[in-house]
Symmetry: C2
Subunit: 317 residues, 2 copies
């Protein structure tokens, strides 16, 4: 399914098209020009195109008994949109490929609604997608955005200050509770089930000095390493400074907690954290700085040096 007039042109017959029609009915005005072979859209003149793809697969990225269907699809699309935040790109739209188990046929409207929630949250649109029968639920989301001067992972320089948005540890604590047979607190569960793509925050940060950024998907510690290596600089951070999600006590666990979708940014100039908090209702916290020790990250708790808190790696467990 894809493109052209606003709203679907007529689709052909067949069960796959019935599923598409059902999703389009839920999406309403949010689906733009679905029905041709491809979507057609404009990139603002002077801007560059920004594109990224992200998959969320049952058993790999989530379990169906942890979340409602609508939360699963919201979260999958938001995780992909978070990559646009990391570049400070304005979203142009998404394309979503759904793998749907036959037994979940009745959950299709919830799945469509969660996708709609995610595009509504950042004010964007659904440009196309497809749907395939499968044994387990999966969503692969491509996000398209535009930016005049994108933030990158490779723009951090020695002397830059490192800031993080929001509070850490919620998703890790929620997953630890579920896998340990316990129930996470509502706040921790919410941070796992309803992450927020920090696009508005990123655009403001880019306008106010930030030059480098990464979003936290593998865990703060692991993503700081990615940032350091991509920029070829060192990083020195004090994890004692991390703002923690309620009920999270260990900053090392919080620094290993994946799928936070908060931002780490690097800025050559001080950023007004009070103004940021006033606008967005979440903290902006300076946690350290970039150094000239090539590619290495020094983790501290106050003055005490600590080992890298271990993050999340789908292929190693």
């Amino acid at each position: 399914m894809t493109h052209h007039a606003p709203r679907a042109t007529s689709l052909g017959p067949g069960a796959e098209f019935d599923l598409i029609r059902e999703m389009l009915a839920r999406w309403d005005h949010r689906a733009v020009g679905v029905g041709d072979d491809a979507a057609i859209l404009d990139v603002p003149r002077g801007d560059r195109l920004v594109a990224s793809v992200d998959s969320a697969l049952e058993g790999q990225h989530f379990n169906r008994d942890w979340l409602a269907t609508r939360e699963i699809s919201y979260r999958a699309v938001t995780a992909a949109l978070s990559d646009l935040a990391a570049m400070a790109a304005h979203p142009l739209g998404i394309l979503v490929a759904v793998e749907l188990p036959q037994a979940m046929r009745d959950a299709l409207t919830d799945l469509a609604d969660g996708i709609a929630d995610a595009v509504d949250a950042v004010g964007t649109r659904i440009l196309g997608g497809n749907i395939t029968a499968s044994d387990r639920l999966g969503l692969t989301t491509t996000v398209l955005g535009s930016a005049f001067a994108p933030l990158t992972r490779s723009a951090l320089q020695p002397g830059h200050t490192l800031y993080i948005t929001g509070r850490f540890g919620g998703p890790g604590a929620a997953v630890a509770a579920w896998t340990g047979g316990r129930t996470p607190t509502p706040e921790q569960r919410e941070r796992f089930a309803r992450p927020i793509a920090r696009i508005r925050e990123a655009l403001w940060l880019a306008e106010n000095g930030a030059t480098a950024a990464i979003d936290v998907s593998d865990g703060l510690a692991a993503d700081l390493e990615h940032l350091a290596r991509a920029s070829g600089v060192g990083i020195d951070v004090d994890l004692k400074l991390l703002p923690l999600t309620g009920g999270v006590l260990d900053p090392l666990a919080a620094a290993a907690s994946g799928e936070e979708y908060e931002l780490v940014i690097g800025s050559p100039v001080p950023v007004d954290a009070r103004e940021f908090e006033r606008r967005f209702g979440i903290p902006l916290t300076g946690i350290g700085r970039a150094t000239s020790t090539n590619g290495e990250v020094h983790f501290r708790l106050g003055t005490e040096r600590v080992a890298k808190p271990e993050g999340y790696d789908h292929f190693s467990r």
Copy 2:
């Protein structure tokens, strides 16, 4: 994995990154700017952006014992690129999400090579992607292109002539042979395993009169219906005129054969089929015309009216 400097910036540690590094090594210069949160690219000034997504999943779209791994990934990416051909768009690049069974770890280089074959065939690049552990092999490919005046499914008008590129029936015959426990002929197998995205052909056709197009993925008969409905016109075609792949005898079976990735185009002016064949080495055949009978397709064999040859629907079998 994604963006920025030409060639990967350093990636972090972990098994998933080892897999990405291995694919990047195979892709070499074909992977542009992988390593940031998203790819950054330019759309030619004045052009519109064209985007589409397509999935190829083991057991659903292919069986691993029918094809070599390198053919599977070539075919998956080519199927997605075919949607750019249907719009007469110049490819800007692809993003590919791979679902990889642990047991296929050693086949990763073949998988990467097949993706490289597909982008080489149309002269484009790999802009990003990701890789996830899975029970069965899957590739979801997003294609990005640009076009000044895209062909669409909705631009067919009464009186337009309908042309098709290439020969039909090969993929259907190959699948029928495999599912019947026989071996397809080399020519039929080749049409299934190594389809060609008709991008160069589409660009030439758009310059030489074509206004409407669709690529044949569901079968010629089904895709003619999609075209008729999207344009709100009728279509009258003589299936006796179909050029057939060697060894295919039944034009009705050829019109139901899916995943041909040939093009159907509609043109208000005659197109020089001899010049087309001289340039591209495949036939261009007029098979009928658009009529004013709203949304209906009349299938004929010569003068005899026939029922719609049934196509392929993943969800109904």
